[in-house]
């Protein structure tokens, strides 16, 4: 097997149920267990870890430091601090429009913060060129909310796409890898269907197979549970856990489905108003006394997070219907 970019240092031929050779001991922690792999703190900047007091620099995959971001006149983030640790499932929760997907775009270098730093595997994304960012992305997989499958390719070719682009593996080996990955998401039999012939849940599973086909070290899930029936939702939940426990993949999950996340996440962040308002294990969040956390966890429309979008019009508009 030849890998053109040299970024794959682990065997490619792995199904979801098969380990890939990476150390998974630190990653196989049960959800809710926030024990850290090491007490050694080598970086002052990460000593203020909001999740758990301190993280060894090598254990830190993503380090977002005092990030500010906005577009037009709207501010999305006002001093965001986040740390994602190796081998763990980290959940980002928050109301709609709070910037969860924007956070993923920041972490993956699709957009740059107006202030602050986004550090991934110890590298400040602002200092990297396009090819270096691409180099980092080869170590990541991303599951999009709608699957984002290439509509002119069938399921098989969609999953084979990253292999064809980044490796010169022989066709029989590509076929073996693709079918193994499809098998791991239960869709080996759908290999020759077109994306238009798939249900939403199937499309997301195909996208998951594509995301793991290069054996990434980090998997990013953008709203993976939206619009799924209970069976598909259960399958996706199981797969996320399996990817983490079986392959030792660090997982970043963005969602507002509290109950589902509580069953799989090791660390959770609750975002609101452009900041992290709470962090900890899902159990800790559930037991939090903070009003904003309670409102989000119970789904109440009465609380610090307003149901109505803030108006910019004057009271005359609102009360008298006067357009001035």
């Amino acid at each position: 097997m030849t890998i053109q970019d040299g970024s794959l240092n682990a065997p490619v031929l792995n199904g979801a149920a098969v380990g890939n050779g990476r150390p998974t001991g630190a990653s196989a922690q049960a959800p809710g267990d926030s024990t850290l792999a090491s007490d050694a703190i080598t970086n002052d900047a990460i000593a203020d870890d909001v999740v758990a007091g301190g993280v060894a620099a090598g254990d830190l995959v993503v380090d977002v430091r005092d990030v500010h971001y906005g577009f037009a006149a709207r501010s999305i983030f006002n001093g965001l601090d986040i740390k994602v640790r190796k081998g763990r499932i980290t959940a980002f929760m928050g109301p709609s429009g709070t910037g969860k997907t924007t956070l993923l775009r920041l972490i993956t270098g699709q957009i740059a913060p107006s202030r602050g730093k986004v550090v991934v595997w110890g590298q400040d994304l602002a200092t990297l060129g396009r090819s270096e960012i691409y180099g980092l992305r080869k170590r990541m997989g991303m599951l999009f909310q709608n699957g984002a499958l290439l509509t002119d390719l069938d399921v098989y070719e969609n999953v084979a796409f990253p292999l064809r682009e980044h490796t010169d593996l022989p066709e029989p080996l590509i076929r073996t890898i693709v079918l193994t990955k499809l098998h791991s998401v239960g869709l080996r039999g759908a290999a020759y269907l077109m994306p238009g012939e798939l249900s939403g849940g199937m499309a997301r599973r195909v996208a998951l197979a594509r995301a793991i086909v290069m054996d990434p070290e980090v998997l990013i899930y953008d709203e993976p549970f939206v619009g799924l029936d209970p069976i598909s939702l259960g399958v996706i939940l199981r797969l996320i856990r399996q990817m983490n426990e079986g392959l030792g993949i660090t997982s970043i999950v963005v969602s507002h489905d509290v109950q589902e996340l509580a069953t799989i996440a090791h660390d959770s962040y609750l975002m609101s108003g452009g900041k992290i308002v709470a962090s900890g294990t899902p159990k800790e969040l559930a037991a939090s006394g903070l009003e904003v956390v309670k409102q989000f966890m119970t789904g109440s429309d009465d609380g610090p997070v307003p149901f109505h979008f803030p108006t910019t019009k004057s009271y005359r508009d609102q009360l008298l219907g006067d357009d001035e």
Partner: protein, 254 residues
């Protein structure tokens, strides 16, 4: 007020020209890697070219027939029906072939390119490629750009051939012009420079129309309205640019 509007128009136009130029530089940089994967380019030649064949051939036939009708009406007044073949051939090869093909190409293939790429943007397919460390400029934009540039002269050539058949159909079969005269006059008076002019024009139109189509699709707002507006801009800008380039090239070849 009007000064502000015209200033904005000038600044906006210059900005757009700058953005398109930067896009062109990026796309040209990816043409080499795209050519290294000929199957992608061939697929796009098929999409832009083969799938436009029916409309191009139909249009060519009718344009040739109309050209013969108007031509014979004009030439009869001077007793020069014999040169109908030359008039039709020069009109088609130098002017109508490349121009009408470009206008039809913008309407058929250009809109298809813009809406396809725009929808890829709207459905996160381009972002997904970026996340897989695959530059969409290389995989999506450059093959389509090259495919359009290659397809346009081929389509213009087919338009010319079918157009000449249409002119012959009306001029010779219906209006009674002598077939030998029709073809021999054409053979004697149409030179390779005339053919080259048509080819150069169609390549230039292909370059402009495909660049606009790919640019508008790539930069379309990721909404249904955004893709619709981008598609409209493609047709309008391609048509105007085609006619402008046609004037400049015709003047240059005189």
């Amino acid at each position: 007020m009007s000064a502000v509007v015209s200033d904005n128009l000038v600044v906006g136009s210059l900005r757009k020209i700058g953005l398109v130029t930067l896009f062109l530089v990026r796309i040209l940089g990816q043409c080499g890697p795209a050519l290294a994967r000929p199957s992608l380019v061939v697929h796009q030649i098929f999409n832009a070219g083969a799938r436009s064949l029916v409309i191009i051939m139909l249009a060519g036939l009718f344009v040739g027939m109309v050209l013969a009708l108007t031509g014979i009406d004009l030439l009869k007044r001077f007793g020069s029906e014999d040169v109908l073949g030359v008039a039709a051939a020069l009109g088609l090869i130098k002017e109508l072939g490349p121009v009408v093909t470009a206008l039809l190409f913008a309407g058929r293939a250009g809109t298809s390119l813009t809406s396809e790429i725009g929808l890829m943007r709207a459905t996160d397919q381009l972002t997904a490629m970026e996340m897989m460390a695959v530059d969409p400029m290389r995989y999506v934009a450059a093959p389509r750009f090259l495919g359009g540039i290659i397809a346009m002269p081929l389509l213009a050539g087919i338009f010319d051939i079918v157009g000449l058949f249409g002119a012959q159909l009306v001029g010779v079969q219906m209006m009674g012009v002598n077939a030998g005269t029709f073809w021999s006059q054409m053979q004697g008076s149409v030179h390779i420079d005339d053919v080259n002019e048509g080819i150069i024009k169609s390549v230039a139109f292909g370059f402009a129309c495909t660049l606009i189509a790919v640019y508008e699709g790539y930069n379309a707002a990721p909404t249904a309205e955004g893709v619709g507006l981008a598609t409209t801009r493609t047709v309008v800008a391609s048509a105007v640019l085609t006619l402008l380039i046609d004037y400049l090239l015709t003047a240059a070849f005189l």
